[in-house]
Symmetry: none
Subunit: 202 residues, 4 copies
DNA sequence: TATGAATGAGGGTTCATTCAT
DNA sequence: AATGAATGAACCCTCATTCAT
């Protein structure tokens, strides 16, 4: 079988990551075992270790990819939007349109935030976390500044601080999504209105 | 025929919980071992198992107590405040006055949110989490309704939804506190202003 | 059972070391598994790890103890001997009287020399090996110099070099003891005669 | 209908053995992995298994060849020497002229003696070891007997025992060569003198 | 109550060998 | 003949929990 295409290998990696994600989602990173991933993926243990050198690496790759995918998606969409307002709208809507009680989404949220908290204890991971956070804040900050330049948004607003506020809100809402009676949509929409109202010039 | 008093036992339990908290904070629940707790507490393993029947129980007790302490504290303080406004103020200030870069506080945040996410996977724990959440929402909801009745706050506001929004904001801010460059104070204050402005009658 | 005397613990350690030795003897350090040692000792795996933190540590302790025991034995016996000659005699006889086809002795030899060769690849172990070697050479060197001072031995002899020669011979003979048809006794006796003859003043 | 010539195959085998030796030298037989050999040789895993059926077989072949090469070399050289004395001289000099601190030589020594000790535990290997030893002893025994017949050496000397003594010395010296401060040359020369002096007729 | 030695299932990882291509 | 991905038994070690003292 050997001498196999890069795509084949990439596909295998994805397969492993998919299985790993489900296992981490179901049990958490620490509690999920390599045997779980083996069982779920249907591969052999050795095969998995051919693609990833440790359970931790799988975890990292999983989260890095998710993050990267997000960024790519954002940037792709932003290209289609002309105004800063519509970009902000798009960002909010990305979360507003997410089905809050979708099993997969909840699992993703739990795994994702667990990873963030976990990273808190490892300087290397914390560094990555910071970088990612900075990029996210920049993403929004850029939009706000663009809006300010275009006269869409208030001029006298600390744009970076306001960008931070955006992610604070998003993370707050996401976190509460794990409560199945959380009025996700309503709360987020009101927060969106509140946020945009203050942002936009009267 | 208990040989030792209840107070003695309670004291011992607190001692264990303190040590356990530090261990969980430093390494996380899964990674911290009973041996860590033994070493930190200076007690013997058997002694600890006399007071708690498992590591999980320690974890649970720890978080339950923290939550309870919070409630007691809130209620104690609310008794001193006359108006709903001042109660809301107190709540926000409880978080505004917290030193966001205090090591202990950060550790507490991490352990606390990890526990929440962890609880997601266990129906019993999730139930507890829900109850706690409901109580927190009620706490704020009661204040808002009180304020509405007193004419302090807008009448046409969905009070419970607004209460949910409060905790969403708080959790968002708390979560971001783990980033050492997060402008915790500024973001929270602005969110507070935004929140209260909309709440109060013009 | 806990709170146990130091002797008890030392005894346990010895027990483990005994089992480990037999396993290493039978299969070699790398090939012998912790499960082998567990099975042979009749203890649980955890128990063994309570006394030694790794398989390597067991190996090291085993060899260190053997070496130390040897030194103690030598020094104890030297105290009884008055002349340098009789000390040299004692040393040679220690090896001459060893039963060359004794199973235990052969196993010991194999394990011991394997350890030496193994140590070659680890700077720390190599250092220990060197130290041990230096002590052994000193031991003989001291005797030779004592003999020279007393007029028993030739004056114009490089004592340290001659001490090195002693251990070279011993190790050579030991190594050959693994061949069951090796005329251990005869070869060693002749080498002894040859060695002492050149050492002693005419 | 072999596609490739025997020479080609032999060449490949040598290539593998060379790589294997370096790996075994660097890490030891047990610790060196097939992947190490693969990496070092630049061949594929499958290719190596086409030439050798197991790691053990590589090890065996390696050592057998080394031994055989030695014998061929000895016999080739002996053909050039007329007297038994000069043959003994040659043998000693083969070791005296070896650079005792040559990295390669030390590695060879370690691998070689490790193999001997390893063989101790496998009846088949032990048999091979014995045969080799017997051949080595015969080699020297023949020389001594030749010398005795020619009147070069003492008549009343147990030639085989004396041959055994030769290899005992050589192995002792070799073994000590792993200590970088071992006065290899001096010790061996003195042992040689001692050995030959007793061998030769006065 | 307190002690800490003992237990042993189970964890992550390795690696000689196989075999489809 | 050559490739290297796949296999899975086996390895060393951990650790929550138990229990004799």
């Amino acid at each position: 079988m050997p001498i196999v295409s890069e795509e084949y290998k990439e596909e295998k990696k994805e397969q492993i990551l998919d299985s790993a994600f489900e296992c981490f989602a179901k049990k958490g990173f620490q509690t999920a075992t390599m045997d779980d991933i083996v069982a779920h993926s249907g591969m052999s243990k050795g095969a998995i270790y051919n693609y990833f050198s440790s359970k931790e690496e799988i975890y990292l790759d999983l989260l890095t990819r998710a993050t990267d995918k997000n960024f790519v998606q954002y940037n792709k969409h932003f290209a289609k939007h002309r105004t800063a307002s519509s970009k902000m709208d798009y960002l909010f809507n990305a979360y507003l349109s997410a089905n809050p009680i979708d099993r997969n989404r909840l699992e993703y949220i739990v795994v994702f935030y667990e990873f963030n908290l976990h990273s808190t204890r490892d300087p290397d991971l914390l560094k990555q976390l910071h970088d990612r956070k900075r990029k996210l804040v920049s993403l929004v900050n850029d939009i706000i500044q663009e809006g300010q330049e275009q006269g869409e948004f208030k001029q006298d607003l600390a744009s970076e601080l306001y960008a931070e506020r955006f992610w604070t809100i998003i993370d707050g809402v996401n976190l509460h999504a794990v409560y199945d009676d959380f009025p996700y949509y309503d709360v987020l929409r009101e927060l969106k209105d509140m946020y945009l109202q203050e942002l936009k010039s009267e």
